[in-house]
């Protein structure tokens, strides 16, 4: 293996590339070549490093110097000053408020995180299976194949207390056990990578940064339940993720980590990728399975659950990307060690995508049970421009808002449900005083109305009615009875919708009414939008009064 003097890790996560990372990389490689340093400096494209707001980013080892907001025009200077003369360029480095230039492990944004799922993201070249293997990749698969019986694998996952990271938090080990118990010649493993919640991009980043961990997690699940075929269902909006998945799949097949008789065992498992075609509802598991079969992505009534009657009517384990990414760690390090992270009923970590009005937006992984205050202030660096925190949206269009008074609520499935919010898949949008809560609720409802598949009436028609009322309120024509009507409709939709999309669609409205009722009332009674977002027309009586004044 070739030894390099300097390793320059460039973030090739979707957001850094979009922010110009690819042209910077090109310029850097060109500058290195010009100075004839190709044999001394290795440039590595990694997955998402996390601090997306600072992109394009680069970490230079051995020192761990952190460069942010890079432009192609910076490349020449970095090569001649830093790479040649050993003088890092402070102008381009990550700078803390105290004026220090921390290295990667000193930055608070990274130092307060615990990484299991993202253990390789930003560390390795995601297109290299060798680098994944060098970081203990596929060792967990080798361990189960060589020294564990399938039921022992299920037991280990049960013991770990891992819960589904797609949002519902169902115990993963139980899910596997249900499918393992089924007597069927054909069983399937499916990864739900149809991430669609506005504000959420964890799954995209994990796939882009560490695709092999999904493959390994799925293969372990397949061994545990007796499945031979798997599918990764990824949304079509993620072309970079799809490309890297294809590369990872091809390489895993080439070296015999997928296919027949894996690692010389009796276990065979094959994997294919299925691409969506733009339908949010396909994130619902039964709709997703229909879509894999090539049908309209409409949900089915449950039960039967996919664990007994799933893809093509066969027993199917369907888990989220992040859930599978936890599996290799649990198998390799043991359930005990996993349980030491997080809380008793919510072990492990959760990945969040931090967006909205927070200083450092990006991808983070924290132990469950941490408070939102620590996420926003210690990791995210607080609210920009000295503005006041107003609320954080969790769980996307299915979730709710966490108000300032609840900032210390521990982040776990139960505590968030209690305050009318939701863990969800991990989208976390921070809002400051400039956000109007009625407007936010309206936007989520618009989303649900657009994305409702139309199969059941409460979701199709009910959400539309709710949106009409919200539009009325935000335009200054709200009626005193509107709040009551909204709550009434919301209850009906929650109780009677067919799938999770409809059942959870009213949540953002209910949660904003619960914590910000005064804002709704100000819109209705005083025709006033406190945050000054909604364009309110003055009430008829006011218009008349004004007209009178003018004529007099």
């Amino acid at each position: 293996m070739k030894i390099y003097r300097i390793h320059a890790l460039i973030c090739a996560g979707g957001q850094c590339i979009t922010a110009g990372g690819d042209s910077f990389e090109e310029a850097l490689k060109h500058a290195i070549k010009e100075k004839g340093l190709e044999d001394e400096i290795q440039v590595v494209e990694t997955g998402c490093m996390g601090a997306c707001e600072k992109g394009p980013m680069m970490v230079v080892y051995p020192e761990g110097v952190l460069y942010v907001h890079l432009k192609p025009s910076d490349a020449q200077e970095i090569v001649s000053e830093h790479f040649l003369k050993g003088r890092p360029i402070q102008r381009l480095m990550w700078k803390e408020a105290d004026g220090n230039f921390p290295t990667l492990d000193q930055v608070p944004f990274f130092a307060h995180q615990t990484k299991i799922v993202l253990r390789n993201c930003g560390m390795i070249d995601s297109e290299s299976i060798e680098e994944y293997i060098a970081r203990d990749g596929y060792a967990a698969l080798a361990k189960v194949l060589s020294s564990m019986k399938p039921n022992q694998v299920v037991e280990e996952i049960k013991k770990s207390g891992l819960r589904g990271r797609g949002g519902a938090g169902f115990p993963t080990g139980l899910k596997w056990e249900f499918t393992a118990r089924e007597n069927s010649e054909m069983k399937y493993i499916v990864t739900n990578a149809d991430e669609g919640d506005p504000g959420a991009y964890m799954d995209r980043s994990v796939i882009e940064g560490d695709p092999h961990t999904i493959i390994e997690g799925m293969a372990i699940a397949a061994y545990a339940v007796g499945a031979t075929q798997g599918y990764i269902y990824c949304r079509a909006e993620y072309p970079i993720a799809i490309k890297r998945l294809h590369i990872a799949l091809r390489k895993a097949k080439q070296v015999g980590l997928l296919g027949k008789n894996i690692l010389g065992s009796d276990f065979s498992f094959d994997l294919e990728i299925r691409i969506g075609a733009g339908a949010f509802v396909c994130g619902e598991e039964t709709a997703l399975l229909n879509s894999i079969e090539g049908k309209r992505g409409e949900p089915n009534v449950k039960p039967p659950y996919p664990s007994s009657k799933g893809l093509y009517g066969k027993p199917t384990v369907i888990n989220n990307v992040e859930t599978f990414a936890n599996v290799p760690f649990i198998i390799l390090e043991g359930a005990e060690k996993f349980r030491k992270i997080g809380t008793e009923s919510n072990p492990g970590t959760k990945v969040f995508s931090l967006a909205g009005k927070v200083i450092t937006t990006g991808l983070i992984e924290v132990p469950l049970g941490i408070s939102l205050r620590r996420i926003i202030y210690d990791i995210g660096g607080g609210i920009p421009d000295g503005k006041k925190f107003k609320g954080a949206l969790m769980g996307g269009p299915s979730g709710g808002v966490v108000p300032a008074s609840k900032l210390d609520t521990p982040i776990d499935f139960e505590s968030l449900n209690e305050i009318g919010s939701m863990m969800g898949s991990g989208g976390l949008i921070v809002m400051d005083e400039d956000s109007c809560m009625v407007d936010i609720a309206k936007y989520f409802l618009k989303f649900t109305v657009d994305e409702s598949c139309g199969k059941c009436t409460p979701c199709r028609e009910g959400t539309r009615q709710m949106l009409t009322i919200l539009e009325r309120i935000t335009s200054g024509s709200g009626k005193e009875s509107d709040l009551n009507e909204l709550e009434c409709l919301a209850e009906t939709i929650k109780l009677t919708s067919l799938c999770g999309l409809g059942q959870s669609a009213p949540n953002p409205v209910l949660s904003t009414i619960r914590w910000f009722r005064d804002e709704y009332e100000a819109h209705i009674r005083e025709h006033k939008c406190i945050a000054n977002v909604c364009v309110m027309k003055a009430p008829k009586s006011e218009v008349k009064k004004r007209a009178k004044k003018i004529t007099h």
């Binding site: 979707g14 957001q15 590339i17 979009t18 922010a19 997306c52 707001e53 992109g55 991430e195 669609g196 919640d197 506005p198 504000g199 959420a200 991009y201 995209r204 075929q229 079509a236 909006e237 993620y238 072309p239 970079i240 294919e272 299925r274 691409i275 969506g276 075609a277 733009g278 339908a279 949010f280 879509s291 894999i292 079969e293 090539g294 049908k295 309209r296 992505g297 409409e298 995508s353 931090l354 967006a355 909205g356 009005k357 937006t361 990006g362 991808l363 949206l393 996307g396 989208g427 949008i429 809002m431 956000s435 936010i440 936007y443 989520f444 989303f447 657009d450 994305e451 598949c453």
Partner: protein
Amino acid sequence: MQKKSLIEKLHDLQDSHHQTNHLSKEEVVKLCEQDSTPLSQAYGVATFYTMFSVKPRGRHIIRICENQSCHMADAVQVVDELKKYLGIEFGETSSDGLFTLEHSSCLGMCSIAPCMMIDEHPYGNLTPSKAIEIVQKMKAGV
């Protein structure tokens, strides 16, 4: 390798029409005859998913997000200016046949909102002028 699903076949068909990005009726009918799939089923699938179109579209598809994170980052201004520049509304194609403007539910680039995707290329941290500049550059490159 299992045989391709109807969705994959429709993707293939649509991708073969670079200029119009749509599913032509004749080809879908032919596909259905070959596979003994009812045409109604293919039509049902094609019209269910937003990325399929049974009507001809522009050479490039602009998918722009107006949801929460993008909304908070003033996506509405970007959308308005882009509509004005192209002279079209959502779902319409510019008169030169180059661009169709579509809504996206979320492109998963919320940290660099507002964002859009033209064909398979994502663009983030948009401002109205930056968005128009990107479109202008594409236009010049065609």
